[in-house]
């Protein structure tokens, strides 16, 4: 497996932003690093040929979440950071490092990007059925939408209701009656 320059740069950027989010002491700086992380991840999704996920990550992760975090910060009192980085606990580092090692060990087992024959997901029966029948059965060209709104429509209704419930719960927690 070899990386192109773009992929390598993106991975380094995302890793640096993730580390920055975890380590920066100043909350505002951490929020900004997190937004940059989301933007980097969304471009990685594009490179991995998942534009639907990339669009979601860019709009929700880099967009709305950042605005909501900034608003929460503006409404709370945060002490000025006395230093740049959060103090590091070595036990946590060891634990997280071990976790990263375990996860990293599974990476070589992943199939290469875009190769259909050795990819268990792409060559799977269900995926092949969706790809072969989606347009005929649902009349939409985007197979992701076909799965989302037709084949797995019941799950998507659940997702949409979860979003709705989150809004209702926010209203009741803040003891307000209107969305404004």
């Amino acid at each position: 497996m070899s990386l192109t320059l773009l992929e390598g740069a993106l991975l380094v950027f995302v890793l640096a932003c993730a580390l920055g989010t975890a380590l920066l002491k100043d909350t505002l700086a951490a929020v900004i690093a997190f937004a940059a992380y989301s933007l980097g991840i969304s471009i990685i999704w594009l490179v991995l040929q998942a534009p639907d996920v990339g669009l979601t990550e860019a709009a929700v992760g880099a967009g709305i979440m950042t605005v909501l975090f900034l608003l929460a910060l503006a409404n709370t009192v945060t002490p000025d950071a006395d230093r740049l980085l959060e103090p590091v606990r070595w036990r946590t580092v060891a634990f997280v490092g071990a976790f990263v090692l375990v996860m990293g060990a599974t990476v070589p087992a992943l199939p290469p990007i875009g190769v259909a024959e050795t990819n268990p997901v792409l060559s799977g029966e269900v995926t092949q059925y969706y790809l072969g029948h989606a347009y005929k059965e649902t009349q939409v060209k985007n197979a992701v939408t076909a799965v989302l709104a037709a084949y797995r429509g019941f799950d998507t209704l659940g997702e949409a209701v979860v979003v709705f419930s989150a809004g209702v719960v926010a209203l009741s927690v803040l003891r307000r009656e209107v969305f404004a």
Partner: protein, 155 residues
């Protein structure tokens, strides 16, 4: 953000107001495109809804949160959220009522030839309404904070 900046975060800027005034209709159009065209290209209700919600946030950024809150009709936001759920569930349950299974778009075929395609797009619109209004709602709720109206925070 330090505490001394306080609640008066809004700075009136001609540049931002003019830019937002010009850009906002295009962003809203793009959001609707993402929602509608999600059937044939990347995108869909969730993504388009968030972009539509961000139009209101952009307006608040330019004209102030309180001014935008007064301009916005809360009934429209609530109607979008509950209307979205009703549209989605209604299309699903309507299929059962016509003798099919939940969300089986093809039972609408006798009434409309492209039932599946437009059913899916209606569902996406419903999702977009829910997501947009909840995003707008969370934005204003967080801006108002707990227990007091924004702008009356005691130092």
């Amino acid at each position: 953000m330090s505490a001394d900046e306080g609640p008066g975060l809004y700075v009136e800027s001609t540049i931002i107001m003019t830019t937002v005034r010009v850009v906002a209709p295009f962003v809203l159009t793009f959001a609707l495109f993402i929602m509608f065209h999600g059937a044939d290209s990347p995108g869909g209700g969730f993504q388009g809804g968030v972009i539509a919600g961000s139009v209101v946030m952009m307006l608040a950024f330019a004209f102030g949160i309180d001014a935008t809150r007064q301009w916005l009709d809360v009934r429209v936001v609530a109607a979008l959220a509950s209307g979205g759920v009703l549209v989605f569930a209604g299309i699903g349950l309507g299929a059962i009522a016509l003798g099919g299974q939940f969300l089986e778009y093809n039972v609408y075929l006798p009434y409309y030839s492209k039932a599946s395609k437009y059913g899916i797009e209606l569902v996406e619109l419903g999702i977009g309404g829910i997501v947009a209004s909840v995003a707008i709602g969370l934005f204003f709720l967080l801006a108002a904070g707990f227990g007091h109206v924004a702008g009356e925070v005691e130092r």
